[in-house]
Symmetry: C2
């Protein structure tokens, strides 16, 4: 397919590389920031522009890898008539394109993408389309860049997005809080890397609710007291410690069979 | 070394396998539950007992892989005189062995161990000893079963234990809550596996505080409102969502350079 990419951030870069590698022709990268557009254009061997008025007219697929905020106002910037427009956002309705084209949808990568990663991770895509033809086109295209493609409407995508925030963004914040604690207390956070990786890897093979360990599920009050005392100088972390411990305790009290 | 293992759970099983594979001689497994002792004895090709009075006298190293609670009363059950006694607990002082032997310490695996895993994960060990000779003996032994061995006293070990609980047990609970939400809302939690794994893997290469993404760090209020609305029927999860989002926001407000 002939593809035009709007955006030049992490998502535009990683998907651009995947799209190029799959043999599609990338006509152009458009980004309000011309330097960023050029950097990505060099990677994708295509022309660039920073002006919505100069967006290439010959695209079959226009991929909008923009912030939620930029997407909401997109119909004021560009009109594509009947060309296929897709965005890559987890929590934005496909209908942001209603005044942009008659054919549109979503190509949402359910993965954390970073422009600089050398090895691209597996990316499941959640797709949607405003009519059966758009959906089929997006599905066919998505399958050229990923083995894992699922249809999800706006609400289903939003649900998976909140689940992703909880199990990825929030897990990362726990790592960051633990690291900060270790730095302040002068113990080596790096020693936890194998444990963190093992905990995440197991989710692929088992339901996480069957894998829960730690003092809270055992209701090991003496250990939790020792921990709580250590966390006294870290009131935010201590509050999170208490709240999640309580949640673990309640979760397994009401799901006794899962332990 | 000639090793006697006290305990027959996940830690005893995994460490027993590692110890045997490293070429040590396992003399005996002792467990109050004879059936469990036999199961592990079969795996480790050694005799078993369920009676503290019959614990083999010829051990050079006695590995106590017991619950914190069982460890606290261990001096009432066994006396080892001068033989080396170690336990595997994160938050129990080495001094539980004060009345058990003159030589003792800790061999704490900073990893989540499951008896049935086929591929054993990398296990960093935190070790301690009550005198330089015990410490050296434990260190030498630990190096035969792991490349990653660090000295940590009771307090340092407890600090790493609380950091492990936060970044592993709590991360797993977030996965479990997200899974429960997905099941209730009829979307496929399995689609999140690659994201969960990618998020954890990156911690090996980068500090997690430099990796934070998601609506909270962007202060993306409209998205957080949409999420909060979806989470209304899940009050516990919603409270955790709000609290961790707030913590992310505050963390990066006071650490602006890390983002």
């Amino acid at each position: 397919m002939k593809v035009v990419i709007i955006g030049s951030g992490n998502v535009a870069t990683v998907l651009g590389k995947k799209i190029l590698a799959a043999g599609h022709e990338i006509l152009q990268v458009m980004s309000p920031n011309l330097a960023h557009a050029r950097t990505l254009g060099d990677i994708l061997f295509c022309e660039v522009t920073n002006d919505f008025n100069n967006v290439h007219a010959g695209g079959e697929l226009y991929l909008f890898a923009l912030s939620d905020f930029a997407l909401e106002g997109i119909h004021e910037k560009i009109s594509l008539f009947h060309s296929l427009a897709v965005h890559t956002a987890g929590s934005v309705s496909k209908s942001v394109f209603k005044k942009v084209s008659t054919n549109y949808g979503v190509l949402y990568p359910l993965q954390s993408l970073r422009a600089n990663t050398e090895i691209l991770p597996e990316i499941p895509f959640l797709i949607d389309g405003n009519n059966p033809e758009s959906l089929l086109q997006i599905q066919t295209f998505a399958h050229t860049i990923s083995d894992r493609v699922e249809h999800a409407d706006d609400l289903q995508r939003l649900k998976l997005h909140v689940a992703a925030v909880i199990s990825s963004n929030f897990a990362n914040h726990l790592y960051a809080l633990a690291e900060e604690f270790c730095e302040a207390e002068k113990v080596d956070f790096n020693l936890l890397h194998p444990l963190i990786l093992e905990t995440a890897s197991r989710v692929t093979d088992y339901s996480p609710k069957t894998l829960q360990t730690g003092p809270a599920i055992r209701n090991d009050v003496p250990t939790m007291r020792k921990h709580s005392k250590l966390l006294k100088p870290y009131p935010v972390l201590r509050r999170i410690y208490n709240q999640i411990s309580e949640s673990i305790h309640d979760f397994y009290k009401s799901n006794p069979n899962s332990y």
